[in-house]
């Protein structure tokens, strides 16, 4: 258990160090995620404890950003001034992104994945 937690912390810490050294705008935690992927690829084996720890974290992601969301308490003026623009931009962007992604995915599936037998096989899985 401690080893799995250490691995997550170590990846994030290395990510933060790389972030500061290189000046990349990529957040340290995202760099840490890529480092974890690299580590799993380099040292491939079953990791039930790591999976258990990360599943627990992912399942409780929502409560972790409550303290930040409460920070809206200090942004009343912005919401009053820009609320409509924020809502219109968010709604339009969400719809457009979903449509573009779905259409490009479907097109590329037909164009580049000729032996497409996974479609029916995986749906029941």
């Amino acid at each position: 258990m401690l080893r799995a937690i250490f691995l997550l912390f170590a990846c994030q810490l290395t990510g933060e160090i790389l972030h500061r050294l290189t000046g990349l705008a990529l957040p340290g935690s995202v760099i840490g995620m890529l480092l974890l992927l690299a580590w799993l690829t380099l040292v491939p084996r079953e990791r039930p404890t790591l999976t258990a720890v990360t599943s627990w974290l992912t399942a409780h992601l929502a409560v972790m950003f409550v303290p930040a969301a409460v920070g809206l308490i200090e942004e009343g003026d912005i919401l009053a001034a820009q609320g409509i623009g924020l809502v219109v931009a968010t709604v339009t962007s969400t719809v457009l992104t979903m449509a573009v992604t779905a259409i490009v995915f479907r097109w590329a599936l037909g164009r580049f994945v000729p032996l497409d037998d996974a479609n029916t096989g995986e749906k029941s899985a």
Binding site: T58, H60, A69, E74, F105
Partner: protein, 230 residues
């Protein structure tokens, strides 16, 4: 007694309690997007802060143990990507093409429209990562000089709206493949969309959580590149 209001124990207990109460309601409502627990805990906690006269800085400090977990949780998103590597390899071309197109569409449309409304720079930085999962959006927003709490709420709203409009929108477009549908929902509406996709179809759900995780990386990378040139 009043001293208790300034201890971490008090606000940690209240935050978890309020969240769990709304999470129970959300479960009862079969996880309807409009019943998302963050959507309801946030205004209640804001009300409690105002009622008790607690400054936000004190609350943020008290609840640090909760928000600290966001970083390791983001790192941990690498594990499901790793678990899905065989499927990713098989669908690599559709995934990479649609992910790039989707991430660009999201950034350009969100920032462009808000700019048309005259949104100032810090708001543009807060909305740019709106398609990524909340902790990543907060990290990117603060990187770009935005407001993390605003980014969190924008992302939450995008997720709730995306989860609700996914089925009618994708039916309207005639996209029937559950992998294309799931991936699009994950790229556009992150974790809240993925939760909805899992209710509809298992492979849609798997592709949705993959889309969420990959878009966190893609959007962060694209915005990092843009930040260099702007």
């Amino acid at each position: 007694m009043t001293g208790l209001l300034s201890t971490p124990l008090f606000w940690l207990t209240v935050t978890l309690g309020v969240f769990e109460a709304f999470d129970t309601i959300s479960k009862r409502a079969n996880r309807h997007p409009l019943c998302h627990p963050v959507l309801w805990s946030t205004p209640v906690l804001i009300g409690l802060l105002l009622w008790t006269g607690t400054p936000y800085a004190a609350y943020r400090e008290a609840t640090f143990p909760i928000s600290f977990l966001l970083g390791p949780a983001v790192v941990g998103l690498g594990v499901p990507i790793w678990a899905e590597r065989a499927r990713i390899r098989r669908l690599v071309i559709p995934i990479m093409l649609s992910l790039t197109a989707g991430a660009l569409t999201s950034i350009v449309s969100a920032v462009g429209i808000l700019a048309l409304f005259g949104g100032p720079r810090d708001l543009l930085a807060s909305i740019a990562p709106r398609a990524t999962t909340t902790p990543v959006a907060m990290a990117i927003a603060s990187q770009l000089g935005g407001i993390p709490s605003l980014a969190a709420v924008i992302v939450l709203f995008a997720g709730v709206f995306g989860a609700m409009c996914a089925t009618p929108l994708l039916n309207l477009l005639g996209v029937r493949d559950y992998r294309a549908r799931g991936f699009a929902v994950g790229v556009s509406a992150h974790g809240i969309g993925s939760a909805r996709a899992f209710q509809v179809d298992q492979s849609a759900g798997a592709l949705a959580s993959m889309g969420m995780a990959l878009n966190a990386v893609m959007t962060a990378a694209l915005l990092s590149l843009l930040a260099i040139f702007l």
